[in-house]
Subunit: 561 residues, 2 copies
């Protein structure tokens, strides 16, 4: 704890002041002017790691401001923090524990022990148990109550127990076992579960209850409802109630509760205290993904992440991709004033990546207080949002081009398609490159005017329309390119972002591994539940909440009368 | 055109200056203090329309600032603009045409003609044709090449031809014909189509090609690929090629092109010039929804919207819900400085609403130039984002609570569930109410400290943890409540937002019905396509684009070698 508290706040450092001056100097230099430097700039602002190539030349930086950013990272002691992470130190200081997701891909230092257990041994054991189960389900050796193989997998989990496997299963659908259907149910709203079960034959459905504590309200409510559904189906088939027990599995740290729920030990897979929910895809939480792509595929995901771990540990800051990603974001957020960051994968299979990164970044670094309890003093994580290209082009890109807001964008593309239909992929790539160019370079009034004139419009029409065809440009972006979307390149992509978040947290002085901000609402909800259920407003202090409960009760009564 | 151009810019008006003073005055008054006023405030800041109740008491306004906002709306001539819209005037000034989506729900003035055709007659004819087709498909009277009924519907469309029906089909899944499976394919990326067709039996699949111009690149690429897939299946079945012609339908304004593609006239449904893509759910673009819920359900959707049209036209500004929604946003964006707006439906069926509103708001008002070509002079549309509750609570809510960014939120809830599983819905509602209360009221350091002490922690732990358990609060939100998610309440909800966007545009002086900002990237992409396909960089001026093409070519070559 003390090591973190002792350090100077980033905003009070000399580096920070230097960066402010760079931002002032560059404020009036448009990207169009920066890009006019040509190949030299592009080469200098290229950075690669594992299968990924990143182009930062469309960011509003130059060599000297980049050098100042790298100095900031060095002054924040990034290298030391990184070594603490990989050494299994208790970097999650507010919760006083290690964050060992890197150990799950074999990247932590050897010999790390937690409560007397060797972490590497523990992981190997878990992986072996998971592998046996995964291959048995895939091969159809585990059957449901009617004797048919389990072909529908319903994952019950929320947050970190949902977003990772959900995103990755979609991302790797080209590599998945076609006869397995994967479903994800997260919401407390019964509509999520009910509409999913409508497409699942009970006798062929495997249910995974993924909850670290086995007490997560959403997951447990869904687990109870699904158990009732399964019991009803079993009874309707004239079979004894216990016959579908092996249609449940669990990923949890709370064995006792899982057993109490009726899940056999052979189907309970560990979720350790030293893995945070939003960093848990690499653990047994990845079970749905492993079922979809098999253990070899899952191992490739881990290997892709491990390659980035190695890069992060060994590359100098000047050529360290997660460090660059972190610094460019800090530049855009704290020096240029961006409030949000658009993630734009030009890959339909990666459509859920923005939602995944939303949790990773906003829950990790959406904080204003440093690990030592003092204020950070500058803006931290942005709003992460976005959609797959080209879909977003027909929706919100209008605002990116002409809305007048500074919104840094990350474009993500693959040289080759995961599903190769003739005539689709080259056009997709052309759009990706065209958008980042248009956002950066813009189009001036003179250019718009001459284009309209050249198209034969009369002068009045030209004058009327030209202002609407001006693009201010100067919208910064990073483009990430890999060969193909595979388990390996996906693992690398996620690990890049995990380490990016870690570097940012280190600079801001935050603990990226806690999430105290989610507790208050939960406590309040538990307190309000009996009032909502009874339509009673009396012991509630807040008039707005009271009014809402009264409206709900009145609407329900109108229906009943 | 002149009427719009002649007016004073909002930012130059006396109202605007008055609002700046209100914002300054209220800047130091926290929501906790405002809400302490109790029931009086809540009653005063309640506004209802059709089935919807809205509570604005958790916005950072008071009565006098609200009065100033209403004065701004009046000064902008909202009432006159509104009448122009309903009278079918050419409110889409830059494209010189009317915006008659309100006519599709029977709300426009009678007798409106476009190019000599009575719009109401035209709509009635289209509705009848659509209805016949819809009921024939639903009843299984239209069959595929093997004689089996069409049970899989694949909608090919993007932007406005996709987001509306996709969102509404999910929203109304509780009211849908269970034997029909609706699929939506939008992306140019072949992965979207290929992964969808993997679950569609060719002989039972109806394909809808939805494109106003029948030239949209994404939709046509997908249409050609799906035709090849269907022809292959027909050939494999030993049948003649033309046998699956009636498995295609189209929603388009370009009849000739649709016919050329091979779609029979009986299956072509009109998409008129006077309907904008993002306002087109009410037209034949709603075909997938009509197939799912039937024509009676579709008529209820229209009726729900019509009720809001009536409200918008007749309620005084002081009790006009779309006007309030618009003004509160302008307050948050232009006076408090918010950059984004979170849409948080506590309804899993409404999970796609944020994506729908993203297009509606960001494409309509993501502009900086007034209809008359002059600069707006203030920020316009925000980034719209969000996820269904409770899902987002386990992801980005950390940032809403403790990230230190001002992010107005809209909570949307229903008194009763659309899928009623025991134990789910009351808890869902309790979370919705708890979150808006926690965001508004926050928790002070003194409160956090005394809670930790009461829980028995030692003083050192209390002091260490308390700063992490502080919630600054003061995060504004609106809560919208209706009885139940039905076609009617959905239609009303969408119409509320359409009119909200219209009011904002009128105040900012924008034309919400054009989207010039999407053109530039398209043109550039067409120019880059041959280069990407050939891996040639030579005639490209921008070094960054050149480098990307070279990387793509190198990655592809490595694979081939």
């Amino acid at each position: 704890m003390s090591e973190f508290a002792a350090e100077t706040r980033a905003v009070d450092s000399a580096c920070w002041q230097a960066l402010r001056r760079h931002a002032e100097r560059l404020g009036s230099v448009p990207l169009r002017a920066l890009l006019a430097e040509g190949d030299v700039r592009v080469e200098r602002l290229h950075c690669a790691a594992g299968p990924w190539h990143a182009d930062f030349s469309k960011q509003r930086i130059d060599e000297s401001s980049l050098a100042a950013l790298l100095a900031l990272a060095r002054a924040a002691g990034i290298e030391g923090r990184r070594d603490q992470l990989f050494a299994g130190e208790r970097v999650n200081v507010t919760e006083d524990r290690a964050a060992l997701h890197v150990a799950l891909r074999g990247s932590a230092d050897p010999g790390i022990q937690v409560e007397g257990v060797d972490v590497a041994d523990d992981i190997a054991g878990s992986f072996a148990k998971l592998g046996e189960f995964v291959e048995a389900v895939r091969a159809g050796r585990i059957t449901g109550y009617s004797g048919r193989p389990l072909r529908h997998i319903v994952n019950l989990g929320i947050g970190g127990s949902d977003l990772g496997p959900r995103m990755a299963v979609r991302a790797l659908r080209a590599h998945s076992l076609p006869e397995l259907r994967l479903h994800f149910v997260a919401n407390l709203d019964g509509a999520d579960l009910a509409s999913t079960l409508a497409h699942c034959p009970a006798a062929e459905t495997l249910v995974i209850v993924a909850s670290k504590t086995f007490t997560t309200q959403e997951t447990l409510a869904n687990a109870r409802s699904v158990r009732a559904w399964l019991e009803q189906a079993v009874t309707a088939a004239g079979l004894p109630a216990g016959v579908a027990t092996n249609q449940f599995a669990s990923v949890t740290a709370n064995l006792d509760r899982a057993r109490e729920f009726g899940i056999p030990d052979a189907c309970i897979f560990p979720f350790r205290d030293w893995v945070g929910g939003r960093y848990s895809l690499w653990s047994s939480v990845g079970l749905p993904l492993a079922l979809a792509i098999g253990m070899n595929g899952f191992a490739q995901l881990l290997a892709g992440a491990a390659a980035i771990d190695h890069h992060f540990r060994s590359a100098p800051l000047e050529a360290n991709l997660p460090v660059w990603l972190a610094l460019i974001d800090i530049w855009n957020l704290d020096f240029l004033g961006a409030e949000s960051h658009a993630m734009l994968p030009y890959s339909d299979s990666l459509a859920l990546l923005p939602a995944y990164l939303q949790q990773l970044e906003m829950e990790s670094n959406g904080k204003s207080v440093r690990a030592d309890g003092t204020p950070v003093g500058c803006p931290t994580a942005p709003v992460i949002w976005g959609e797959a290209g080209t879909v977003g082009q027909h929706s919100f890109y209008q605002l990116l081009h002409q809305g007048g807001r500074l919104i840094p964008c990350d474009f993500i593309a693959f040289a080759e398609a995961d599903f190769d239909l003739p005539g689709h992929h080259d056009a997709l790539l052309a759009h990706c490159l065209a958008q980042s160019a248009a956002l950066a370079l813009g189009k001036t009034l003179a250019e718009a005017t001459s284009e309209l004139s050249a198209a034969g419009h009369d002068p009045a029409t030209v004058a009327r329309l030209a202002p609407h065809k001006v693009f201010p440009g100067n919208q910064p972006s990073t483009t990430l390119i890999a060969h193909r979307l595979t388990a390996e390149s996906l693992g690398a992509l996620i690990a890049l972002h995990e380490h990016k978040v870690f570097v940012q947290a280190a600079i801001w002085g935050l603990n990226p591994f806690d999430q105290w901000g989610v507790e208050y609402g939960k406590v309040l909800a538990a307190r309000l539940l009996p009032q909502v259920a009874a339509g009673r407003t009396d012991p509630i202090e807040d008039a707005s909440t009271r009014a809402a409960i009264a409206i709900i009760a009145a609407l329900r009564a109108r229906r009943r009368s």
